[in-house]
Symmetry: C2
Subunit: 371 residues, 2 copies
């Protein structure tokens, strides 16, 4: 093995993702590659689909991992559900809401955004009022866990407003899935995507997505082809479903082994227990940060357990602290993005990372790294 690979020194990944990967997932990645049409591989695909349905709490038949990272999941949902000229409303309170607006506009959507202050949640009252104005929107989209700010948006309270308006409801669950409840069917979400490298604790590279029957109706009834051949679910579902398994593109076989193992670990532990582990690690972290005199960016009711935004104290060189954490303590945390650059650190407690011993190791290292 070449030096650069041999020299990789494990890092405690407490940034905005990727998160720490459990040994069983590494083992899975290194299982022998077999063909993407091999009946043994089809069996693995079928189990992945069932496990994703369980994790997302949905019976949607169209539930599968796309062959790209979380951002490809975002693009998949917009590319398949938005036709040129469709009116799309994006609720924006961070980088990933902004990214949604960019993605949807490139695909020909007639995009409007409703903006909320970064660090605060989307307000359902304002959304209701906004929806009452103007023409009917074809789709309304929101980020569940805004990774850039640590805010949990009230996606469950927005669902009835969007449904009453007659729009499809699209939710970004990249950072929430596997770390907090995501209840696709009960919330009446029409399309949802995630990524593997956050609370699923699988390396980056796959994007689980699910579409409701209403979303599939929209997809099947399009008057134009999906502009992306690679992400066209009309074709990809023929590979993931049914008896014939029509080849579309060569599935990322070993990454799918990794996802299989990651999902198995979560479901073996039990979804409720996994969520409780995230909540407990978060509470321990917040208590420790406050003891160090640090302040959280987000109000308690809207904090994400898996992504903690902490204000950088005045006169502290935030990049120097992150460098010291990485170089001296082998711990990665994240910087602020956009208007919050230099203002916050983003401390991830995602999936396998969300454990008391990691919180304690981090708090000790942070104390050492602060000036």
């Amino acid at each position: 093995m070449d030096d650069l690979l041999r020299d990789i020194d494990a890092v405690l990944l407490m940034g905005p993702g990727p998160s720490c990967v459990p040994p069983q997932v590494y083992e899975a990645l290194a299982r022998p590659t077999i063909g993407h049409m091999d009946p043994a591989f089809i069996g693995i695909m079928d189990r992945i689909k069932v496990m994703l349905q369980e994790l997302m709490r949905t019976t949607n038949p169209v539930t599968l991992p796309m062959s790209g990272t979380g951002s490809a999941g975002m693009e998949t949902c917009f590319a398949n559900l938005v036709e040129p000229g469709d009116r799309v409303l994006i609720l924006v309170n961070g980088v990933f809401g902004q990214r949604m607006a960019d993605v949807a506009a490139r695909l020909g959507g007639q995009v409007e955004t409703l903006e909320f202050d970064w660090g605060t949640p989307v307000d359902p009252g304002a959304v209701e009022q906004h929806l009452a104005s103007g023409d009917r929107r074809a789709l309304v989209a929101v980020v569940h866990a805004e990774t850039s700010t640590g805010v949990r948006n009230p996606v469950e309270h927005l669902a009835p407003l969007v449904r009453a308006h007659g729009a499809l409801y699209l939710v970004d669950a990249v950072t929430s899935l596997g770390g907090a409840p995501v209840d696709v069917d009960a919330w009446a979400v029409d399309a949802l995507y995630s990524g593997t490298q956050k609370c699923l604790s699988v390396p980056p590279g796959l994007a689980p997505v699910t579409l409701s029957a209403r979303a599939v109706d929209k997809l099947r009834g399009r008057s134009s082809k999906v502009s992306s051949w690679y992400l066209d679910l009309n074709m990809i579902t023929q590979y993931w479903e049914g008896a014939s398994r029509v080849y579309h593109h060569t599935a990322p076989v070993n990454m799918l082994y990794g996802l299989y193992a990651g999902l198995q670990l979560i479901l073996d532990e039990g979804l409720d227990k996994v969520h409780a582990r995230h909540t407990a690690a978060h509470a321990r972290l917040v208590a420790g940060l406050e003891q160090l005199g640090l302040e959280m960016l987000v109000e308690p009711d809207f904090r994400l357990p898996m992504l903690n935004a902490v204000r950088v104290p005045a006169n502290v060189d935030e990049a120097a602290v992150r460098r010291r954490l990485l170089q001296h303590h082998r711990i990665e945390i994240g910087a602020g993005l956009g208007p919050l650059a230099g203002q916050i650190w983003r401390i991830g407690l995602m999936g396998h990372t969300a454990r008391a011993e990691n919180v304690d190791r981090f708090l000790t290292a942070l104390q050492d790294s602060l000036p």
Copy 2:
């Protein structure tokens, strides 16, 4: 580890890809995940880029692996280089030429195809004549190694015609790269993409691409945004180049470890030796097939070493032969696609698979599996 993963029984992969993966690549996939902005990871990215340049024989600064499979590489090149209304000529003699036409049309290209019989190569004389008719095309695209038929198209002889016409020249090297010479700069190719699961012998999931200075000029001078946010090279190059490394999407870290290891193995062996190994394995296979009384689909001058299309003898159930090979001998070969379904088998000798002992094992197994 769950049964389905533990029970995976290694297969000698002699289909149209994925190919057999060397142990060093599996080891690489299982190295510890680190952050996509970690300086150690940036170092690995930089080496991957240099190794890809060496493999593709190019000095193009825009040379990097896209975060998707080979088909995402195809879409990347068309999405970045074709603007709505651009005239695009696709030379078609198989499934992947057809796919190019579909991809380009979805992106708004004004697509025309010039078709050649499946199993025969693209004819430069016909292309020259065709280019002389009609308006100037913005881009001409061709598949180097047509995986659906086993034909090598004369991409080096088409290059001067395309250049004289004033078009960008786009080449699909998904199946050829790493198994036969691909000489991007000498051939004056403007855009080229490949995949990891063929002659690079890395599992599927990444798509190396390269763009010439002329292609980059076209990209930078676009009047419309690239319709795909996920594949927009204007942004992705800011993550792969320079000092600032602007975050775009979370790179597929462990897959990139695998690519690193796969490239290293090829360059350590030496490109010429690797190509010679493919040629030798191909000659051994063809001799053995002919001894069994089987016929090749393609004329000797245009055969690919890494993808061998063999005619199914009359009255043989081709699917039954493939099933027996897989179930009794743990060897995968491919079926025919499109008009060649049922007519041919596709026998891959790609990357790590292209060795005399594999050819011999396959020939013995095939003899046993024929009626």
